[in-house]
Symmetry: C2
Subunit: 412 residues, 2 copies
């Protein structure tokens, strides 16, 4: 039996008992996990340093994602403790009604069962995913990038230790260690064992999962995010929002990748924008109009308009009007986060209505598409699909539902 | 370009405009459709009679599903008119809050985009699916069973006529006419064109879709439903519920297929049950214990426990206790509808908590798992998956959501 089949079976067999486990036990598990993360900080950092040392080929953005620091471990522990204190997402009564025939119908939240995660070289996802899944009553199967394997092994050991010490079955947490790609494919087709698969990472990873998975998936995270600067925009606000959205953390999915500028203001706004971006160290690409305005702008290729850079690179395009901007976003957007900068309410309303994305903004940075920023405390990623959950996926979104119906012999 | 690609592209291109169409236009479309169904009743019946004539190989249950009658067409028209009068599921504000930084965040319901249906020989599904999808703001691609093609062609002509006459683009409604199975497979993999695929029909159809689809799916309808008669059950109630759940409409997915009887009452209850079922014309299969009690019971094979008969057949098994019943249901159930007959509240609560199904009943017939019976007015099927929607799938469940965020220059 393959590692995937063996471990998925263990997760599947242990999940039903977790579904019936009281909140207090799950909280004790999370609190103990937070302690263990802090107690074992040197060991985690050493394993992570080894991961970084073994992968000099990674880009700067990927090294940023891979690297753990004492501050990041503290943040992981704090997040886990905060999660422990949150209300249990299981057992919520979502609707409750009595039918004319006397049937009492309740819709309640229940666990998914087994949640699998396929992700890349972000070891913090290991803790995030396992903590969120277990709080939501589900077993978890983790398949992280091989670049983070040393750290992930330590983190999963700590997760399983926290489970054992607090009365949970450690088999609720499974790490697929073999980096062979056929195992990831097997996980994508483990129907009947995996109730939900969440890929988290690059466009290529997500595409591979979409093209191969036959288990239910929650598509997350590719963000080719646009800002459209409409002709009436407050240009100072537009500059500030664009700089923030591009530069505050370029390696994440809600970072801005493209700016569409209304042609009425192109000649005045673009040079100012280029000055600010250049100063912030951003490489700027652009269409012919832009390039002719400023020689610091490199010509963009057709591929640029579909690329999520995840780096200090931004492409600028001049558009005729709102319709042109909407058409460009419909063609090149990834349904993640899009923003319009405008003082014109009618244009703003049209943008909000017509853009098909998880989060559509008016006069704000795309960087707010985030569970914490939305007040959800914890999230496992940003869903860009239309089914089940769209936008930040928090505890409630990791649950399923069932109907409980009680009667006294009703027949139809 | 294949028929699927061509028609899916048309649906995909016309869907965004429908998303912005006012409720009144959608209602006018539905009301006109209801009129056209009634006006064209003779033509629909003639086409359907031709379908029935061309398919003498079908079982009685399948002929029941295929056959339209004036009463069923009236019911279709009435359902469509009722749908027109229902509130628009699009544009509901599902949450609305202001963050400490002043960002105003609203979560609103939006259309899926393009909904595809793969189904069998039930021509009423053609109208149900198209009417529900369009009311929910989505274009629809219909792939019905080839046995119903004559009726489906007429029904789609009427759907497109109603659209044209009320200002909707008729390309919002697409019928895949070519019965070639490779076209169904192509539809299952039309990522980027199909936002949601709903298979509706036999276990084999659903399994084929699950094994092949890479577009998001909503699994519906296979119901190997169980009733567990616990030792303290009111036996008269148990008899009445079982007869109703088995016999009131055996060809549908919420019909009862299996009865598990507590061994403490097996010898008294099973003979009474067999008398009633026999009188109702039900073929009875059973385990060794049952067969020894009554010679009218045919021995069940292992395959019986996993079979959805959709016919006047029922299998009975004696179980030791609740745990034994729960284990049997966990192994053989299809996560649709399960019921316990008991006067013991503790046993009932355990059954409700521990059975993993869309609808779990205490002292009521499984036949109530239905949109109308739940007060949802209209449904497209019963979801047996854990993602997105579980149980009856009505208008609200056919929608997606998006976040609209307005600010005044907020940065992170």
């Amino acid at each position: 039996m393959s590692e995937v089949l063996r471990k998925a079976t263990l997760a599947h067999e242990t999940a039903p008992r977790l579904a019936l486990t009281p909140s207090a036990v799950k909280s004790a598990f999370l609190n103990r996990l937070a302690e263990l993360l802090l107690e074992n900080e040197p060991v985690i950092l050493a394993a992570n340093a080894e991961d970084v040392r073994q992968n000099p080929q990674l880009t700067k953005a990927l090294i940023d994602r891979l690297t753990l620091t004492p501050r990041r471990i503290d943040a992981m522990a704090t997040a886990v403790k905060e999660l422990a204190a949150l209300p249990d997402p299981i057992g919520r009564v979502l609707s409750d009604f009595i039918r004319p025939n006397g049937l009492h119908i309740r819709k309640v939240s229940v666990p998914m069962g087994v949640i699998a995660m396929i992700y890349e070289a972000r070891p913090n996802v290991t803790i995030d995913a396992a903590a969120l899944a277990l709080k939501a009553g589900s077993a978890v199967i983790l398949r992280g990038g091989k670049e983070a394997l040393n750290a992930n092994k330590i983190l999963v050991t700590l997760l399983r230790q926290a489970a054992s010490e607090t009365g949970l079955n450690p088999d609720l947490i499974q790490l697929i260690e073999d980096p062979d790609k056929t195992l990831a494919l097997e996980l994508m087709k483990a129907n009947g064992l995996v109730d939900l698969l969440i890929p988290r990472g690059s466009a290529r990873l997500i595409d591979t999962v979409k093209a191969n998975a036959t288990v239910p998936i929650l598509e997350t995270g590719v963000g080719n995010c646009h800002a459209y600067v409409e002709s009436t925009a407050d240009l100072k606000m537009a500059l500030s929002v664009i700089l923030n959205a591009k530069c505050s953390r370029p390696s994440v999915c809600n970072a801005l990748e493209k700016v569409l500028v209304d042609e009425a203001i192109a000649d005045t706004f673009i040079p100012k924008l280029v000055d600010s971006l250049h100063e912030a160290g951003v490489e700027i690409r652009g269409d012919a109009w832009c390039c002719q305005l400023d020689e610091r702008i490199v010509p963009a290729t057709e591929a640029d308009w579909d690329t999520e850079y995840l780096d200090l690179i931004l492409a600028i395009k001049v558009v005729k009007d709102l319709d042109d901007a909407l058409a460009h976003i419909a063609k090149h957007g990834t349904h993640h986060s899009e923003t319009i900068l405008t003082q014109d309410e009618t244009q703003a309303q049209r943008f909000l209505s017509e853009v098909d994305a998880a989060a559509v903004y008016h006069n704000a940075s795309t960087r707010f598409t985030d569970g914490g920023e939305f007040g959800m405390s914890a999230e496992i990623g940003i869903s860009t699909q239309k089914m089940h959950a769209r936008g930040p996926v928090g505890l409630d979104e990791l649950c399923s539902t069932k109907y409980l119906i009680t009667g006294n012999g009703q027949i139809r």
